[in-house]
Symmetry: D2
Subunit: 341 residues, 4 copies
């Protein structure tokens, strides 16, 4: 069965909106019906590049437009909840940028609403749709890494300082969504530390340590005030290890066939005999498909087929729960904060 | 005045001992009189390469040798205190590898003893004698970086797993000694997290966050089970930032003339106006002198001149105090532990 | 005086054409009036993205359109001459992609025509409009490098194999146009070597050595069948040296303050006393403006002001003369071929 | 059968001699009996580090020492021939550094002499004993690369300028010995270009192009006046390609499973259908054995077993023949010079 094109409304045409419009516009199974932004100049740009798209200055006219099937929300985080709630209430499918809301209570409300209205609610965790993360997920699933030991992420940058969010809420969702996608086990507790240097309030550097019952653990280190851009994730397993360096132009994933294990012996458990394996390094070929293109294709497909997206409301909620626990830990001088279920 | 060569006894000829012997041996103002090791094969190697050096199987005969002026102790950490104490009691100058002892009480005892006997007590914090760290120190002193914001160190490796020490006590002393050398302010509290994956007891991954009263903070991330070797330190200041990558063969220090600052204005303090500076990167030429050569030259010079070494007992004690606090934090589920003065 | 927008016709919408259209379209002092391509699908793309632009299937209707002031020609090389000639004859200003023609006689004809008709003839040597090459040119002009010794370029790639041109005519024009822009002295002779491996006729690897009277020399090494992409140019001078690595995402230009010189002495000329200077490396900040944007701005400005472009017909001719001499050298078993004046 | 240790005399204790002495000294099947050098200070160093080794100021006393089985010659190139000839005449086995002589006639004389006296004559082409080159050789032998297309080497450095040799004779022998070891086909002609910039006579930059009958070709580019150290060799085959970067600390060999081939079709031969394969990159684990240790082990083994070394006199001669042809080409303005058989 051939579906007629889904009609999309895009709300917000700032940093990310143009990418959404470009990708929806390029598809045969979708059509960008309207774009909303409060800034007249942004709308002029839309008009220049896509004269066929209707431009409106208020989101509400998109939400109430009966010809529109789904909306993509790329406005500032503090507006995500209200817009997504209204859209779901009216019966639109929703793709909302991360973080999906500012509190887990709001996130839960959106999930309930989507379920009640039988609408797709998807969160824009774009990184899990990259060829790199897709490849890593398949390597883990195939048992290439053996038992997982840890995942460790460093995401440093310069120049994304924002007035209305801390580095934790801005950068850490990328890593958290990757962790949640790659690791089947659910985390149990979070500890975090953050620091303000330049601005008055919002933390520019933060570290988050996440515990899991099995002993697996995760660590995130984010900064807005680093002179160098670093996007490095290490994933250690009992058989192999992966280095995922997103700054590399082409060789983003490296699989190291070397590691450490303890010699299995029938002897004393106190005997300490680590075995180091030195092996080859493999850099797999990755397809160059744009992650957002894959994400949007998935969103449209989920609507058409009525299936749950990889980055559904639950995954968005899981990210927010960890962020909330991390905030609480910072407020409690770095104590470990258990994660609610 | 020309000094007659100082006579040195080296205790321990395992991983580090041969470097000590080679460097002392190469000097005109020192002479390696004897080497002690419990392993006959190690002594055979000494004999092969340096037939003139006396080989003994017990440290005690070196400590009691009246012809010997100073000893260098490169034995396992658990033996450092007893050997250094004995050496100082007998009146030898002492160069002891890090960590100088297993507790701060022991470290204090050694400091007191050295003071009482008027002997040089120096800790082998080799990294502070590298051209890289010397260069960074001088850049900080000259105000090139402006106000210091943070120092952040990642030290990952594969294959140094040890049966008798955690990664914290093995790797973090390098970073701590660097921090203490570079930053004049003293830290006030420590928070740490560690994890065991492969062995039964000793942590293979650890993170340490160190607070300072001014808001400056430091972070260490050490691992023994990383597929890639990383030795990266970022130092952020209000004017410039430094990336010190010790894995780079020649371009170890990079000075970034870019950063973020807030616009100074007479207006509202709530106005948030970050200014991003994009500037040149400078990679200073560094001399290629071996750090241990510089360290040993400094040790001999301190003995000859009666001056206090850069890496004296106090700096060794400061490192141990942080390690102890980090251990305590780990035991208290990651709580911040104030540093005793 | 404010100029009314220049009306541009773009001929050819294959690999490069869309970049031209995008850049002309984004300017206030130009307007893309029409695009010509023989491929209906390409025109459909133009229509989709720029509904206001007229789409035509034959270049001739653009050339004869009296409303059009200037044309940009981005068709296959073999058609450049005929299209550019016709355009100049009709009185259009011309921006033609490299190589501007297939022979130096054709190139000279275009130059004569442009002069006779008083029209701007510019060749699309985009690399000389990069921030990197602009920076290097200014460093050379300011005497930072001292006397120039050599320039050495390696341009390797995989996957640009073309049925109708050799690697020499496809890749070497980039390096030649850079050399001609950076070095004021004119070359005197050319030697070249090429090799066919995969296809039947067209060379996939070539080296070109270019001599200058002063002893300065240049070397180019191009390949279409390299597994790695390399775009590396070394420029050696008596005071400093430059490494220009265009594959680097941000740190493209490095200035090495180290080199070799002979000690000036009044003594014997046979004395050989090289002095090695080890110095800092400086990576200058470069603006991120797109080279093609700078090129197009320059083209429009030259039309408006009636000035000669940096990459005028003469520079296009100089590139072709070297290519012709290189072809001749290959045919003569690698002999040096003098360059006609 | 257990061999008694071979007694070795080392002639020349300048840059390379100490490495030879250290490696021979460390073996159980060899013993360094004596070292000769004209410089008293060098001999003092030998005495300091190896008191058991006899130190002499003239090579002749080593050559005439009846207790010595083999000599290693590490003196300036111009003395290689005379010393090696004398040693072979007296009946010593000879390991001589590259180039083995200054002319092919001399090299042939040494080969004849070694054959007549039934002595091992080996040339110190150390690079072919590296783990990297050994690995590449085995990949080629196993057909991993398919048909070989080309080999391309860049060897740039700063600071090896020598008064008595050109960059061609100093650096190119490394690449030539690697080419000759990796490629079974023999070259047929050589073309070369060199340039003097700083000194009065000796060329500091040179390129050499080497032809083979099959169409395979090799290219060398050497420089003494480059700001960066480059040691890069590309090897292209019909199935895979190798990048051998000797400057990389650990990942020296990379195997690219991507390339270009023409579609096999029964259709028109004029059809040009290149197929690009994008594939994984494999970085094989290499053992860290020192190349010179492997070379010396091979030398001793060849003496003990009476077998011909990998880097025998013939391979040394082949290198010199190419160097001579390259010199001749330079003198003939870059003409191709056929290689004598």
């Amino acid at each position: 069965m051939r579906h007629s094109p889904l009609r999309i409304g895009v709300i917000g045409y700032g940093y990310w909106g143009p990418n959404l419009v470009r990708n929806f516009h390029a598809r045969l199974d979708a059509e960008v019906a309207a774009v909303a932004d409060v800034d007249e100049q942004k709308l002029a740009q839309v008009h220049l590049h896509y004269p066929s798209i209707q431009c409106v200055s208020d989101a509400i006219s998109i939400l109430h437009d009966p010809r529109i099937d789904a909306v993509a929300i790329a406005t500032p985080p503090s507006t995500h909840f209200a817009l997504a709630r209204k859209a779901l209430e009216i019966g639109k499918h929703v793709l909302v940028e991360k973080p999906m809301a500012m509190t887990s209570i709001e996130a839960q409300a959106l999930i309930g609403l989507a379920r009640a209205r039988k609408r797709i609610l998807m969160v824009g965790h774009t990184f899990i749709y990259t060829s790199s993360v897709q490849k890593i997920r398949s390597l883990i699933e195939n048992g290439e890494l053996g038992d997982l030991y840890y995942i460790d992420s460093v995401r440093f940058n310069l120049g994304l300082l924002q007035g209305d969010a801390s580095v934790l809420w801005d950068l850490a969702p990328h890593d958290l969504s990757i962790f949640l996608y790659l690791v089947d086990e659910r985390p149990t507790a979070v500890q975090a530390f953050g620091q303000v240097h330049i601005g008055a309030e919002k933390k520019e550097i933060a570290t988050v340590t996440i515990r899991y019952e099995s002993g697996f653990h995760a660590h995130i280190h984010v900064s807005w005030i680093s002179p160098v851009k670093i996007r490095l994730t290490l994933i250690g397993g009992s058989r192999k290890m992966i280095v995922y360096d997103d700054v590399e132009p082409t060789e983003k994933v490296r699989i190291y066939d070397k590691g450490v294990s303890l010699k299995e012996s029938g002897e004393s458990v106190t005997a300490f005999n680590p075995i180091y394996r030195a092996g080859d390094v493999l850099i797999p070929a990755l397809d160059r498909r744009e992650a957002l293109e894959r994400e949007i294709s998935h969103f449209l497909n989920c609507i058409q087929m009525g299936v749950t997206p990889l980055s559904d409301g639950e995954s968005g909620l899981a990210v927010i729960r960890i962020l909330e626990a991390a905030e609480m830990s910072m407020a409690q001088n770095g104590a470990f904060v258990p994660l609610s279920r």
